[in-house]
């Protein structure tokens, strides 16, 4: 079918030059960013591959910053999506009832919640991660009647005002043009060093009536910090945090926008730790096709918003519901988890090799599941590695407060061959940077 419907005038390779980015430079705001790292016109993508307008092929170890965990244009999702569109399924419905939404809810309950013994009400906020986070913050403050929320150093939760107040990055915070208030930054696991018990430290502030840190409505956690530099909290630390929250009657919010939907190997990133957050924020790969969608999962006892107390025009993006439902089939058994566990080792081996082979990068390896990073302590070299990688046909971004981490985010559905190819390109890129130092 894909051939028959393709129409020659729509073939982008006949219309565009891959290096002509003039309209972006003249018309788009200076706020544009990734186009500066990957200055090429892309026109096609499938699974872990992308092509530019000149037909050059790229391996994608970026995955839409975690929004394309199942790769580009997954054929099963694609088929469901096109069928739904062509039969005039409802595209946009706010929070009216549609069959697409109903089927998603049923599948989410049957495949995700029930087998994990999770009892959550499902809220559809606006279709972005920051909207899920904003709804979670509002809800926690309403439930507890407290103003403040504790977030962690190097947290990233979004760019709207409420989420930005709990985001660590100084450059992004400055963008607010306002003091960012009602939040307290506490040290993440291993923030200063391996020895300091950051939770004991935080609890000391809670215990001390004179600490100046008010009892918060909630603590918001990323189990692995993606934007913050692939910082991994141990499962024990995560469990201790949940325990601390219970003892102090603080709500625990897990922002699983980036680490969720399989990125760490299980559907939720917190499954291995065995905790049950009060609220879970989900977005990015929930639709599986890169379509905007977000969920806020709420323990039933905290489901206290009145009708419409939080809303948004695009909370009913049914095309996303259709593909989201289809992705859940990946989670009907543990085969995907097993595959990720196996391939995770391939990634770690490759990164271990680079650390050894490229001493000038002063690199170390960090990560969990398919959230892996090569921390390059030699100043600027992580960016160099990504630049070199791109010139070799591998798409990767950096993260961390000083862009010091080359971040590996391949699709979790990638084949062994695809993964190997990408890792080889990375090894070559790292070696080239190392040799030039």
């Amino acid at each position: 079918m894909s051939t028959s419907t393709q129409n020659t005038t729509d073939d982008p390779s006949q219309k565009h030059d891959a290096t002509d980015l003039g309209i972006f430079e003249t018309l788009e705001s200076e706020v544009r960013s990734y186009i500066r790292n990957f200055p090429i016109l892309f026109t096609k993508a499938k699974d872990h591959l992308m092509w530019d307008a000149d037909g050059n092929e790229y391996v994608d170890f970026f995955s839409g910053a975690g929004a394309l965990n199942y790769g580009h244009n997954n054929p099963d999702l694609q088929k469901k999506l096109v069928d739904y569109i062509l039969r005039d399924g409802i595209a946009h419905s706010l929070d009216m009832a549609t069959d697409a939404k109903k089927e998603f809810l049923e599948a989410f309950q049957d495949i995700i919640l029930k087998p994990r013994l999770l009892d959550y009400k499902v809220m559809f906020p606006g279709p972005t991660g920051t909207n899920a986070v904003e709804s979670a913050l509002k809800l926690a403050r309403k439930v507890k009647g407290r103003d403040s929320v504790i977030s962690f150093t190097n947290a990233y939760h979004g760019m709207t005002l409420g989420s930005l107040a709990i985001t660590g990055n100084a450059f992004k915070r400055t963008g607010a043009g306002l003091p960012l208030t009602n939040s307290v930054a506490m040290p993440y696991a291993n923030y200063l060093n391996e020895e300091m018990d950051t939770l004991a430290y935080m609890e000391h502030f809670l215990k001390d009536n004179g600490s100046g840190v008010d009892l918060p409505a909630a603590i918001i956690l990323e189990t692995v910090q993606g934007e913050g530099g692939i910082n991994v909290a141990s499962l024990a630390w995560i469990r201790d945090l949940e325990d601390l929250c219970r003892r102090w009657d603080i709500m625990l919010i897990v922002d699983d926008v980036q680490a969720g939907c399989g990125r760490t190997g299980t559907f939720f990133s917190f499954e291995e730790a065995g905790i049950t957050p009060d609220i879970v924020c989900i977005s990015k790969s929930i639709s599986g096709y890169g379509l905007p969608m977000a969920l806020t999962l709420i323990k039933p006892e905290h489901d206290v918003f009145g009708p419409g107390e939080h809303n948004g025009t695009f909370r009913g993006n049914n095309l996303a519901f259709v593909t989201a439902t289809e992705t859940l089939k990946f989670w009907q058994d543990d085969s995907l988890t097993k595959k990720i566990r196996a391939q995770e080792k391939m990634i770690e081996e490759s990164l271990g090799k680079i650390v050894q082979a490229c001493p000038k990068l002063k690199a170390e390896h960090r990560g969990r599941g398919f959230m892996q990073g090569l921390v390059c302590h030699a100043n600027g070299t992580a960016k160099d590695v990504c630049r070199e990688a791109f010139s070799r046909g591998l798409i990767m971004e950096t993260s961390g407060p000083n862009s010091e981490v080359a971040k590996l985010f391949p699709p979790i559905t990638i084949s062994d061959a695809g993964l190997k190819r990408g890792l080889e390109l990375l090894e070559q890129a790292a070696a080239a940077v190392n040799d030039n130092l």
Copy 2:
């Protein structure tokens, strides 16, 4: 084609019962709202029509709260969308360059900006109206180095913390769980009565060094307030506001999320007034297909965000770019505007009839273009009218702080026959409510 690809297992009418909403009631959060007004399972839509799972047909005078100005599943948009998907076009790209984005930018420049002599840089914030508003607020505060923003009574700008602070509705404001700060509410046009010059009043506060109202970074305006109750500012008032902003060096932000994209008859709602805002927020119908997308238009001299200073995962929703580009063809000439102007009169006549025929509603008519409302001063009757309408197969919502306005939002592409049918259903519904009082 629609028939051939339709596959029997996907036929929702064979799988669903229109009145079985159990999963929504048990699993979805209590925050759900429209499903309470329209308690039926919808499965299909085309143009101004929707169908439920039992095959019942509804006329849609709601249009996704303004996100479906071109109707449901417009065939031209549908074709472009499916073609793009099937040729493995990039679905999700953050702010990397794609052909879909390039074509949108070119068309937006050629068809929208240039003919209107508008010189704006285009920013792609997260794909929701509130994200466009948050980016506008951040930018204005950064440009002017001032904290405060003036918004108007009964304004609606979104549910994330920054936008909520400039939204009037008390119920929604309470949801924040926090004091909402750095904003001042000033009276909208004709807020108290027809006589009071609300701009002179506001300017008195600005002039008076002792007023306690700080010089704001920006004033944010909806030219017609949709959620606030179909309140219409006159073109003269809008021009005077722009003039006031110029005299006081205040940025003028037009939130055209709901009133833009043709809803008032022109692409931007402020065209008739002849003003040039410093920032324009666009979302809802910009994709034309109900797909999440938003734009922040910025005068070049204010384009001061650094790369990535505001960002978001779904700013590159390419499926939306594809349909958005296609919608711009409607604006290549003035035929759509003329059609809207003609049909606007049909709506006004119908509403005028109702006002006369249904005295117990104590109704009056308000509106501009295809933003029309029947204000029912008899307590609760606007809701009754909408309920009656739905029982007759017409979908309409209420707006206003006390849900006192029955709001007519038909697709701007609706046929005369479709419009007439909807208006007749409304007239019947109003008569029924009136008779029962």
Copy 3:
């Protein structure tokens, strides 16, 4: 006695030159202000008179900005004060019990509260007006569980962060270096013109669920605005405001720091209006001798602070209690009120004369009791009048957002002769300014 204890080395006229202000110019911060208007070294004062180091005499129509309502060094107060000091009475006691505090409480109850049928608990905040206001704001927010407080245009309530947020003056607000939040400025009586009903306007915002103005914990009122420009609210307006507060369950705070302690003719400025505020802030002239002292009066049902929840080192300034007790004797009968009423007419006549005789000042007269002002609409002329007055030996300041009001604040205990002399100096000064225009 005054002679015998006076010691020649302490005679300032032998040690100081009235025009040598060098140490102030080199060592004191640029924030100093009144010394710039009255650039002379003062060394002695009695009743309504002050003397500089060279022995020049000045009539004081300033009265320490309302802190010296009973004149300088009132002999009865002076005697009590010296006796107390010499018998080693407790000078400073925080909120421990002392005889001086006990006697003040008893007298305040017997002479002030009981005869006026006022049932208030007395709180001693830190000994300044802003401290009384801060304690009132905290208490109101605690009692009502609401964040916001409504204040009026051109209000002046103090310079600490909470009070500054409800103060109108833009220059002073800027000093905060922070956004000033949790307050809303509403138009004072006759703010725009005589016709507009500013309370109806405010109530419209409260009634409208979409106004964007949250229900406040309290409304804070100065019955006459001193710093704001001698703006007088009518008794009817004040009563209507109390009524509005009752209907909306809003606490009414009267900031009587400047207008209280007899300045308007009665002990409290709100007595004539017949209202009973929920909280009253008192300071300035409560000690009667210019000694720092403040009171927060609280209806018993709102007395909800826990022990020490608001405190301060100098809440027990016993020297002030001693003189404060003595001042209350002025209020044992209505003789002082009658005297003020009579002299008020003298002031009004004199100002009326100036308005007539000095047309170039474009002056009008405003005021109530001994809070009188000559508003000079000709730009800068109020300052000129005060400068001319000072050169003639009359001390007066300006007020209003643009220093457009020459403010008459003679001691309320001034003799007819003293008042007449001051008024004549003012008339001469005004005439001189008028003639020079």
Copy 4:
């Protein structure tokens, strides 16, 4: 003289009963606190002694919470004060020039600033510690153009909104009825234990662009925390903090309201550390007589307030200037410092004895100079010790977030005999509590 002027009707012992506190209980607000710990009517005081209305004598180890460092009614101060009053010196002058203010400025420059090579401009804020702190915060934010201020755990800076936001105590913070914003609490010296380098920890947050802690305008320090529990920062730590502030371009504010004016043995508490803060807040004992007065000392390059940008009615409390000038004579040589150093050892020995003799209190000793404390880790015993002490005629208060520290604040001018007597009473009280456990 004291006898001759004493007048029998003013003799409080003839008028009052020491245990009759009825008027306080019925008329004063529940916010009253010290009267609950010391429920007796005091009528007279001299040096380190107080007497109640029945003539009972008490040793004062409280010193007005540090406002009476030179004891009660110091005869030299008393004489100057009475002379000034009797010669009709100006009592209240706002910030007009008076001889009393001039003499204070000259003496402060000559005796305090010059010999210490300190170059400060002197600002007179309202006459309370919190007013000095509020003015310092405003100034620092204005100078640096940054919003946030770092304060320390268990800091106490005052009760008005700006100061309260940087005060640690949870009970007092709750009183605000508002979120307290624009401040960050960092761990004071030895906050968690002796090992953790709390400045390195804080600097880690400043260095890390992703920490979520914004670069502050200022860091505000008490060199010894009085209210916070007699927590002592080492001189090295204080120097390191100054160094950190210089490296990060952060203003260093020392709140010397309680620790200054000789309490630690030198006039400023930071002299021994050898640092030069950007701003110093002084109040409490600056007048030496318990009269309300405060100073904000500002490095000349930061003296950027405009005239009147911060003001206050009682900034010109001339009676306080008179006694303040007289106190400076104590600092013309180092005799007072030497005396304090000698007596400090007596206190430490006594506390050491108690720690040994009273094991059930689980006590330890903390302090510097005349800020000494007995920390009683056995729950509630510090309060018991103070209660027992009071019953024996010794006035002491507790401090610390859980009132776990018995705080010794004798006058710094106390005689050896007086100090010994107080310490013996404390030893007896501690023993009694220990024996009863």
